[in-house]
Symmetry: C2
Subunit: 365 residues, 2 copies
Amino acid sequence: MARYNRPPFEPALEETPNGTVIRARGASDDKGQLMTFIEACRAFKAVNGTLPCGITILLEGEEESGSPSLIPFLKDNANELRADYALVCDTGMWDAETPAITTMLRGMVAEDFTIHAASRDLHSGMYGGPAINPNRVMAKLLAGLHDDEGRITLEGFYDGVAPVSNAIKDQWESLNFKVENFLGDVDLSHPAGEQAFTALEQIWARPSCDINGVWGGYTGAGFKTVLPAEASAKVSFRLVGAQDPEAIQNTFRAYLEDGLPPDCTISYRAKDGAGATNMPIDAPYFTAARQALSDEWPKEAVFIGCGGSIPIVGHFQEYLGMNSMLIGFGLEDDQIHSPNEKYSLTSFQKGARSWARVLHALATS
Amino acid sequence: MARYNRPPFEPALEETPNGTVIRARGASDDKGQLMTFIEACRAFKAVNGTLPCGITILLEGEEESGSPSLIPFLKDNANELRADYALVCDTGMWDAETPAITTMLRGMVAEDFTIHAASRDLHSGMYGGPAINPNRVMAKLLAGLHDDEGRITLEGFYDGVAPVSNAIKDQWESLNFKVENFLGDVDLSHPAGEQAFTALEQIWARPSCDINGVWGGYTGAGFKTVLPAEASAKVSFRLVGAQDPEAIQNTFRAYLEDGLPPDCTISYRAKDGAGATNMPIDAPYFTAARQALSDEWPKEAVFIGCGGSIPIVGHFQEYLGMNSMLIGFGLEDDQIHSPNEKYSLTSFQKGARSWARVLHALATS
């Protein structure tokens, strides 16, 4: 049915049990979100004949394909683009009634590496015992990255990780986050990270070490009694606070190399890292925007975190020296990146009104 | 050049720095070896008009393709095939001057399994921290299989592993095995198995635990920050002495299941095991054969081990209740399974003479 296959530029309104939605590929991520801002600007022009303050709009349409043009464009047009701060509309509400400003994004550093042992694959009948097996070496190195309490063992890894302030902690506690729902949605029940922190803290405010891929030896159907010549892994670290991606990459490499037994070597495929983003939430424009959002929606706006990264926020910081404020109206059930993506009509309408309130507040605060 | 591509049934003599060789695909493994026995029988017939004792010859030509016909054939013809013992010509000399009887073959049991966690692959930005990562679980389980001394940690794993007798140990020590050559050939230098045993003991007389394959998550080019829903491994154990494959499979599964954290399950793809083969080397026919071989070659014949398996030996035992004696004249540089396989003319000629001596000795002892 066409209903589940709306093309990207032919949105249709559709009634659902949760209200009217705009159905189209990319309706939420990120066309609908961008339009809330543009509609707010249009309203100002229509009513007042002018915008409430100086505004430059940048519509970035390449994020899902790695934004190849973005950095050159930022560099070439830095003077025109640089502002007091950027407003980015690419995030979500806490829930359908509670607007949110995302104030923390985790950074990331990753390593893709191979452990080499014998000069060729060996037969376990001939060599099983005396020949070092890189799969075994890899397992030991990867297993040593966490202790029994879920803490990451790399020396100095937690340098720069600050505790969450009590004010933020109180806000997060008021969110009524249900770990059993969050994990239950994917058939899990036990938070597996650092046991000293709640699941919400683990995602938003604590770093993680993730083995994204591992492979070595024979992985096809049936069985081969091979001792492989090499084993590989892809490991990434989500970073928070002031953790330094380069220092962590160096520490990780030192850990791997210290743990290599005789006859083994290691090679790396380089991957750039990026630190976490922490917004200046005590700045007046955060206070003003939060109040403006609270005025529009049934519930008070909250400061939330995000376990992932939004690359453009880092680029604005790096190339324009500009902070970002992340406000968005997406909902968890928008099914972003799916063929039947939707954007709630309420998100669209109240989102545009929210931006009008926020722009007014920022211009007058 | 044709020299490196002799077809399997057109052997050619060729001069090499190490003497004349028979060049043909499969010249050593196993056509040349089989022919040494047939030539010995032909000589008896030519000289004496009859064989020295009752002999049934079985030429098995399907070994490299899994011997699909063998077991049915053994079952259907058990009465005709059953003898006091089998003579199998599929093994090697210790070196070009030292004949050998292979008296120990390691057995094997293997497990191919998958650890399951979340109901789908997750994004490490959203879930990195609280969601259990099966790659991490797998690494910990695999890393725990060996202690720092290279011993396998499974409870009761070494039950049935007997120490090597002093008589055999003395023979092995006399072999002048050079671990630096054995490992050096594949660019290794440090025996990685049980530190309390020599490399030769590790291969011939000690069990091993080998991670033949491991895979989980994203393993392609570039990077995906995925937390996979599952991780898999193929692990095999080489067995010696009276180690029981079924007991070890059960112990291994119990180890894996005991180590699974909450929210994880495990599934197995079954694989049959087989115990080690230990020849009755004190039997008179071993003594007689060893003496006969020693009479033919420059150096005294030795009892050696083999780290791998020769499936037919187990089948003879299981379906015919018959022990085997493994005598062969292959050399390490025969390049078996390669296009330019060779069999030394000396192996062929002195091999045939060896069998004549052995058959005579067995018939009269």
